[in-house]
Amino acid sequence: MICEKCNKRPATVHLTKILNDTKTELHLCEQCAKQTEQVTFENSFSINNFLTGILDSIQDSPIKVDYIQATKCDHCGMTYGKFKQIGRLGCSKCYHAFYEKLNTLIKRIQGNESHIGKIPKRAGGSLRIKNQITELKIKLNDAIRKEAFEDAAYLRDQIKELQNQIKREA
């Protein structure tokens, strides 16, 4: 797939843009994506500061990056091509960098895609908090939809507090 903006480089970033209730998909190369992202991101702030603040804290700006199909892991320099040759990843971040492709591969070799079993105490601690955050975010979404902004603000603060807690523990 070729980048839709410059029509030269291969498209590695796949974006879904939701603006004014219309959804558009964009397939861009890394360079073009960086430019586009900045422009749109700034636009989204002009709506309503309070609401944007909440939306932002929920998870996303109106731009949702579906997936970035990197060909190289920024952390260790491993490429997907090299991984295919040697069958070993270079670092734990490779799992993020090659998420799309690895996910398919993992599903094929393991016949499963989600871990069941032991959770380490440390990562497990934040996992529990992360689950709490997810629940609060659902409530927050609800509150926003009902325009219960006081509740929303309260939930947003709670989420922030939990997020800080994760940061402190990290």
């Binding site: 990843l89 895609e113 871990h115 069941i116 079993g117």
Partner: protein, 342 residues
């Protein structure tokens, strides 16, 4: 002393040993293949400090070995005893290990993953081995932060180990099933339910001495307990089939079986030259003879031990020099004669 070689465990007539191996990685370091020598030393220190300066009982039980500080012969002996993996030995420039006194616990550092916790026990005791490995894992986690993903579980260098990172295996002696030509069916059936069957020294090694290693292949999407239970259930069935085959042979062809066993014992007690291949084959017959009570004056533990003592590196370490293949065959025969004389 190496526990699995010198003790007879549960179902020890058929199961030589049970092993649990857990793969773990540190969050802040690249995986071993992408580690510089300097960084790999940092990994060594971090892990050895966690164990040796921690407050678990492992502190006093374990010794730390840099693999580039011992000879290649010593490394190979550890491989032949199944205490470290062939890969760890091959990667000696960057690797290290922590071993406890009876070598039932081995923490391999910078194998394919930063940490491979192995617990190896005699006989059929996968759960005990898991409990020990699991505790070692908890101790390690007090000092290091693991690479763990909520969805994918423990992250490993190879996606085939992801999730639980567990490899459970049994080393099993199946002479009667081999004699009655049932092994191929076992191999096929095991494969179909996600188990791998390998030779004595793992992947790519031949099936010698009727010794097989059976292990789980899948690590993601099922708990450690389920994985162990699955292997345990299948192994129990195989044990039963082997016992059935033994009693069938014993009741239908007793004299032929005795003849085979006594001949093999006779060769082992008298031969002056023995190749590994021949020796393992004869030892398999002798082990069967002991397990069936046909041979009385030798013990099964003894055979387990001999199976390792006759391996090429072990013989050379005993001789304290490198030996040609012919020299090894002669020393092997001597070693076996002495050991069977008790």
């Amino acid at each position: 002393m190496t526990k699995w070689m010198n003790e007879l465990g549960p179902d020890g007539d058929i199961i030589i040993s049970s092993r649990i191996r857990l793969a773990r990685n540190l969050e802040e370091f690249p995986f071993p293949i992408a580690l510089t020598k300097g960084k790999s030393k940092e990994v060594h220190e971090l892990i050895s400090d966690t164990i040796l300066k921690g407050n678990s009982s492992l502190k006093n039980e374990c010794k730390f070995i840099e693999l580039n500080e011992i000879s290649s012969l010593e490394r190979q002996v550890l491989v032949e005893k199944h205490i470290i993996s062939p890969y760890l030995a091959a990667n000696y420039e960057k690797s290290a290990a922590l071993l406890n006194q009876d070598e039932s616990i081995s923490i391999m550092i910078n194998e394919e993953d930063h940490i491979r916790i192995q617990c190896l026990l005699p006989g059929f005791q996968l759960e005990n081995a898991f409990d020990i490995a699991d505790k070692v894992d908890d101790v390690l986690e007090e000092g290091v932060k693991y690479a763990f993903d909520e969805k994918l579980g423990y992250l490993t260098s190879c996606p085939t180990n992801i999730g639980t990172g567990i490899r459970a295996s049994v080393m099993i002696h199946l002479p009667a099933l081999s004699m009655v030509g049932y092994m191929n069916r076992i191999l096929q059936a095991a494969n179909q339910i996600g188990l791998a069957v390998r030779g004595l020294y793992g992947e790519g090694t031949e099936f010698i001495g009727n010794v097989f290693q059976i292990s789980n292949q899948l690590t993601l999407g099922r708990s450690e307990k389920e994985i162990i239970q699955n292997l345990k259930d299948v192994t129990k069935q195989i044990i039963q089939k082997e016992r059935d085959a033994r009693s069938t042979i014993l009741s239908n062809n007793k004299i032929q079986l005795e003849d085979k066993i006594y001949r093999s014992f006779g060769i082992l007690c008298n031969a002056r030259i023995l190749t590994t291949q021949e020796c393992m084959k004869l030892l398999s017959d002798v082990r069967l003879g002991m397990d069936l009570g046909i041979l009385k004056d030798v013990s099964t533990e003894n055979v387990n031990e001999i199976m390792v003592l006759i391996q090429p590196s072990y013989l050379q370490k005993q001789a304290n020099k490198s030996l040609s293949s012919n020299e090894r065959d002669i020393r092997r025969a001597t070693m076996v004669r002495e050991k069977l004389k008790y």
